[in-house]
């Protein structure tokens, strides 16, 4: 059980794909909207604050 974990595995385990996270935060904002006015503004603002630090999501081609 006391296995060695390679440097390469740790690098992948801790990698942050900022473009992927930008899309994730778009989905999170949509999810919070499902609860309408019951969702606290503070939570939406927190999601927006983080999204603002991530790259903008590319426009989807219609």
């Amino acid at each position: 059980m006391d296995s060695k974990i390679s440097e390469h595995a740790v690098e992948q385990l801790l990698h942050i794909d900022e473009h992927g996270w930008a899309r994730e935060f778009e989905a999170i904002a949509d999810y919070l909207d499902e609860f309408g006015t019951h969702t606290p503004a503070r939570l939406r603002e927190e999601a927006a604050r983080i999204a603002a630090q991530l790259p903008s999501v590319e426009q989807k081609v219609a």
């Binding site: 992948q12 385990l13 942050i16």
Partner: protein, 527 residues
């Protein structure tokens, strides 16, 4: 027998008038009572004794083949206004719901015994604990409630002293899925369940009371009722930190609660203590910290996958005084399930001869019920009336990509967002399509008894002056590399991640700041 509490007597009489049982039995929780009920179930074929040499006082129950899991589409939260139940619940108006389900209860206990089960969720003298009374016509439910809750005389005494209790009415009805409902009336602190004898639908103290009604009580009374395990991590200096963790199903919650430290940690003096594997009630203490109890007294765990490598502690508690539901049996009448060992069972979960290659022998949702005290890593702290102070809250999902092994939320608000955004990913392996992400806020999607939006607001409300709230983390044990294999070994090695969290709680280690949260320095995880 009756109670000193008039409202309780009156409710039992009303239920008896509706359901028309032959007899009424008030459960005292004694060993003698259990013995009589066990014999009754053996005689009726509800239970089958397992090998008395290898598994003394262990029994097998086979449920109806159509009654093997919770039924979310038949589970309702019945508030006066649909908005209070929210889009996360099925809703029905209370008047309509009572009428519909009471029609099914009418006369349903003819020829049966009505059992009155007073129970306490949490240590009997704990101010965080709450009581209820379940009425049922199933002796199997009584036997399970005796393992899963503090049931009987002591609970009744507390109920009579407090004068109030959550009401739970259950009948197996005729087990017809077309006449099955699990209904919650949070405004009346009432549960009504009919047509199922399965765990979460029938043991009303668990999901129905401790989570759906409990979450409603918690919001109105200023505490938290959560779908979380509670585990204590003792370091070589003898200091124990307690962690509460929420995961969706099939993420190894019970295994984490009973984690066995890797050899190197054991030799250095690390110990892991189990308080609970499923539900956590937390309340702010006078010192500003969150104090937690496990409202349950037993484990109702999924059997398949429980083996010497995945969870040796669970295995060690399952050879005495346990009830097994829908597992397979071996030729010498021992319980068996997939993932236990290489033996081949002779009977499947339905009691038919098992043909190898014909599908699983144990039902994938087969269960064990056992008293928590039988677990080798159980700690007497689980009985502490004050509860245990929580140092860290952990949220986790099953994500093959994107989400790192661990990150820390910047503050409470960010942590609540992390919990609210929790999700698991299912891969359509056959088509190779990208996984579908299913959100499951705080792992409470099937269990929050009110509107998720209001629930998020309730979580945020704990962030007050003077509060010493736990740090919040997110973990993902399931990230895969470009070769499609899991990157993290999991199981005992998860302790490395918990150790990092606790060092963060003590301010003894730096973190790397990123937009999504704070990450460990790489060298902290390499070894």
């Amino acid at each position: 027998m009756t109670s000193k509490l008039a409202t309780l007597n009156q409710w039992v009489q009303e239920v008896a008038a509706l359901t028309q049982p032959d007899r009424i039995h008030w459960c005292d929780g004694s060993a003698a009572e259990l013995q009589v009920l066990t014999q009754l179930m053996l005689d009726r074929g509800d239970l089958q004794a397992l090998n008395p040499e290898t598994h003394p006082d262990c029994y097998l129950h086979r449920s109806h083949p159509s009654d093997v899991a919770r039924v979310e589409h038949l589970t309702f939260v019945c508030t006066r206004h649909p908005e209070d139940a929210g889009p996360n619940n099925n809703w029905m108006h209370p008047t309509e719901a009572h009428a519909e389900i009471d029609a099914l209860f009418a006369g349903c206990m003819k020829g049966r015994t009505l059992y009155v089960i007073p129970y306490c969720m949490g240590p009997i003298d704990s101010p965080i604990a709450r009581c209820g009374v379940e009425i049922t016509d199933s002796p199997y439910v009584v036997a399970n409630m005796r393992l899963m809750t503090r049931m009987g005389d002591a609970a009744l005494a507390r109920i009579e002293r407090e004068g109030h209790f959550v009401r739970g009415l259950h009948s197996i009805g005729d087990l017809d899925p077309a006449r099955r409902f699990i209904m919650h009336f949070p405004e009346e602190l009432t549960i009504k369940s009919i047509g199922s004898g399965y765990g979460g639908n029938a043991l009303l103290g668990k999901k129905c009371h401790a989570l759906r009604i409990g979450s409603w009580q918690a919001r109105s009374e200023g505490w938290l009722a959560e779908h979380m395990l509670i585990v204590g991590i003792e370091n070589p200096q003898g200091e124990t930190h307690y962690i509460a963790a929420a995961f969706p199903s099939a993420c190894g919650k019970t295994n984490l609660a009973m984690l066995i430290p890797p050899e190197g940690y054991r030799e250095a003096g690390w110990k892991v203590w189990t308080i609970g594997d499923d539900i956590c009630w937390m309340s702010p203490g006078e010192d500003g910290r969150l104090w937690a109890i496990n409202p349950e007294a037993g484990f109702f765990g999924v059997a398949p996958g429980t083996g010497a490598k995945t969870n040796a502690n669970a295995l060690a508690m399952l050879n005495r005084e346990a009830i097994f539901t829908n597992v397979a049996v071996t030729a010498d009448n021992q319980p068996w399930w997939e993932g236990l060992d290489e033996r081949v069972p002779t009977k499947d979960w339905k009691g038919n001869d098992y043909v190898p290659g014909s599908g699983p022998a144990a039902h994938p949702n087969s269960r064990f019920t056992v008293a928590a005290k039988r677990c080798p890593s159980w700690t007497p702290k689980a009985e502490d009336a004050r509860g245990v102070p929580i140092s860290a809250i952990v949220f986790g999902g099953r994500r093959e990509s994107l989400v790192p092994l661990v990150f820390e939320a910047r503050d409470w608000t960010h942590g609540v967002l992390v919990g609210a955004s929790m999700a698991s990913e299912t891969t359509a392996a056959a088509t190779g399509a990208v996984g579908v992400v299913r959100r499951d806020s705080m792992a409470m999607k099937p269990f929050c008894g009110y509107n998720f939006g209001d629930y998020f607001a309730h979580w945020l409300s704990f962030d007050q002056a003077g509060a010493k709230l736990p740090k919040i983390f997110h973990v993902n044990w399931f990230r895969k590399g470009s070769d499609g294999k899991f990157l993290w070994p999991g199981f005992g090695d998860n302790l490395r991640v918990l150790e990092w969290m606790l060092k963060r709680c003590e301010g003894r280690v730096e973190a790397v700041d990123t937009p999504v949260g704070q990450l460990p320095q790489r060298r902290r995880l390499e070894s």
